[in-house]
């Protein structure tokens, strides 16, 4: 069974970013365990340089590079087990040779000349500013603009990538006997998401129906209700998203789904928060780069629920939290499993960056001192000085300064940094208190902070356990004979197993 995630707009991209990180930590291992299957993602956005989109694509790229390193290590640890492949980005303006303005997109001048009735209708529906606004920054929080552009998408023209490849892959999966699952992510209060979700959802459903595949495919929508707000700055252009209209947009969108669009999706998840996080205003492009939000994690967990539980179309499932304005592990669905996966990955990344990488860097530049890093010879060749005589199994090991090993260290480090960045930014939620991890400790990466137990919040750790979960203990335990392979990957796997404490 394959999962297809289509992230629409900036919020959709952030949901796919969360999906990527959750996949890396192993949250989807028991949902999509085979490497042949896994998760396929597609980004949809008119604003191709959107900051949130770029960050999500970067996270995906880092994960894919690291995932490839573990190709021979499948099923040994949950980390890096779920493949995430990408159909990259689709923009409704991809084939447009015209300016990215609504008027140009619909040939407004011709319309006014040749069909004045439609031209007048156009004038009624859209103000002059809206007709002439440059849409390369997205649909500026105007669902009416986005819907008009998105409705021109014609999935019947199979020549258009990436839809052609996407539908073809779904066809192959369905023909293979599995039930492909498609999830659309986006906000229903903004511009791209609000317009793209129903439009692309309907187009996709119709396409699948036309191809006689609809019954063999499950289609879900994960809609994010308003969860952030902003104050426009004094120099903002006239046409921009208005946070004070988010609730109105949401009400209209939900009414639309109730009356017109219930048949599109098999399952719909609605996610929202009473507390609106404050983000910096941006019209679009790279400056529109909102921090990750815990609701996107919920979107990822809703995806897991959709894959595993196969919910009935008429079921209503509620998720709530214990304390307003606070998120703790008790509020996370399947918290036992999710906490285990996320925490193990946090500990792993923390120890990798704060301890392993600095030690390997010193060993690489100044030579190996086994007194300082006793575990070194379990993973790498000792090939200089007297150390050559210190290990009988030298010949099977990899050299630390081999290009392949250095590349592996760099890739894993890049992924660790990006994962911890996402975790820390999740906790920096205006108006909310996120009680999942100690974000300050994680971001400091202080070598003095060697108590790994304290990185995870909310658990009562015994003194004995607290003293055990430390970097000094990891250093000792890495030097056990039963390590999980040689080289950097063996080191990473062994370290991960030590970090999976629960």
């Amino acid at each position: 069974m394959s999962l297809y995630g289509i992230g629409i707009g900036g919020t959709g991209a952030k949901c796919l970013e969360a999906i990527t990180h959750l996949a890396a930590t192993g949250v989807f291992v028991d949902a999509a365990p085979s490497t042949k299957e896994g998760i396929n993602v597609l980004f949809v956005d008119a604003d191709e340089t959107n900051g949130s989109l770029e960050r999500a694509k970067n996270s995906l790229s880092l994960y894919q590079k690291t995932y490839a390193l573990f190709a021979n290590e499948r099923n040994s640890i949950p980390l890096m087990q779920t493949g995430v492949s990408s159909f990259d980005l689709w923009s409704p303006f991809r084939n447009a040779s015209t300016d990215k303005q609504l008027a140009a997109f619909f040939s407004y001048n011709s319309l006014k000349q040749n069909n004045s009735t439609l031209g007048h209708l156009f004038d009624i529906l859209y103000t002059q500013e809206e007709r002439n606004a440059n849409l390369d920054v997205g649909f500026r929080g105007r669902p009416a603009i986005g819907s008009a552009v998105m409705s021109q998408v014609d999935l019947d023209r199979l020549g258009e990538e990436p839809w052609r490849s996407l539908v073809e892959r779904i066809r192959v999966d369905a023909a293979g006997g599995s039930t492909p699952k498609i999830v659309l992510y986006g906000s229903i209060f903004g511009g791209t998401g609000a317009s793209g979700l129903p439009t692309i959802g309907r187009l996709l459903a119709n396409k699948l129906k036309k191809e006689n595949m609809r019954n063999g495919v499950k289609l879900a929508g994960i809609f994010l209700l308003p969860y952030f707000s902003f104050t426009p700055t004094g120099d903002a252009e006239q046409v921009y998203a208005r946070a004070d209209q988010f609730m109105l947009n949401t009400e209209a969108a939900l009414r639309y789904y109730l009356t017109e669009a219930q048949q599109i999706f098999d399952v719909v998840y609605l996610l929202g928060s009473q507390t609106l996080s404050t983000v910096e205003f941006s019209v679009g492009k790279q400056s529109q780069r909102n921090d990750p939000h815990f609701l996107e994690v919920y979107a990822g967990l809703a995806t897991r629920h959709f894959i595993r539980e196969n919910p009935d179309q008429h079921s209503v499932i509620l998720v709530s939290r214990e304390i307003k304005d606070q998120i703790s592990w008790a509020d996370i669905p399947e918290s036992g499993r999710v906490k285990q996966d996320l925490s193990a990955a946090v500990r792993f990344a923390y120890v990798w960056l704060s301890y392993i990488v600095p030690e390997l860097a010193i060993a690489s530049s100044k030579g190996v001192n086994l007194g300082g890093i006793p575990w070194f010879k379990r993973f790498y060749k000792l090939d200089s000085g007297w150390n050559r005589f210190a290990s009988p199994s030298n010949s099977e090991s990899f050299g630390l300064n081999d290009l392949e090993q250095q590349e592996a260290i760099a890739r894993i480090s890049d992924w660790c940094r990006d994962y911890l960045r996402w975790i820390v930014e999740l906790h920096d939620c205006q108006g909310e208190t996120i009680q999942l991890f100690d974000a300050a400790a994680i971001s400091s990466l202080s070598p003095g902070r060697d108590e790994l137990a304290m990185l995870v919040k909310g658990k009562n750790v015994s003194e004995a356990r607290r003293l055990q979960e430390t970097i000094p203990n990891v250093r000792v335990n890495l030097d056990k004979p039963d390590t999980s392979g040689k080289g950097t990957i063996g080191l990473a796997r062994t370290l991960y197993k030590l970090c999976r404490l629960d």
Partner: protein
């Protein structure tokens, strides 16, 4: 800190070996004049001068090894840099057996022949009672810290 039984057993084994050497084999060597004591009967020199001095060296060396083991077992080393302090500690603790050699010879020995041979035998004894036990059986955080431990430890702990 959790003492590992194999390490403790190895340390005690080296103590037993050292004791055997110092209190049985070496006296036999003196009694049989393999190591020559010319200025007094060997038996008298052994009982009045050799045994007290040797007992001092044995006790100080063994105590130093035990002190190193239990002290270093508490080490919380979070980086290779932090090992340097413990390296210095090993040498400092090792000074005590060396000093005990000097005290033993100066305090208990009056024979010039004894001085020559003890100056050769006592360092070997200290090597067996302090250096070898710490090199083969130091606790995990400092297992490769004593000199030669990288080569000696695997001989006694295959797979280490």
């Amino acid at each position: 800190m959790q003492a590992k039984a194999p390490e403790i057993i190895r340390i005690l084994s080296f103590f037993a070996l050292g004791g055997l050497l110092m209190f049985l084999i070496q006296p036999i060597l003196y009694q049989n004049q393999i190591f020559f004591i010319s200025d007094q009967p060997p038996e008298i020199w052994i009982s009045n001068e050799y045994i007290p001095g040797t007992t001092l060296v044995f006790l100080v060396s063994a105590s130093a090894a035990i002190a190193w083991y239990f002290w270093s077992a508490r080490a919380k080393i979070a980086s290779a840099e932090q090992v340097q302090g413990w390296k210095l500690m090993w040498w400092l603790i090792g000074l005590f057996p060396v000093i005990s050699i000097g005290v033993a010879i100066a305090t208990y020995n009056t024979s010039p022949d004894g001085l020559t041979t003890l100056a050769f035998l006592y360092p070997i004894d200290v090597f067996l009672l302090y250096w070898i036990p710490t090199a083969t059986s130091s606790p995990a955080p400092v297992k490769y810290l004593p000199p030669l431990s990288v080569f000696l430890r695997p001989l006694f702990e295959p797979g280490s």
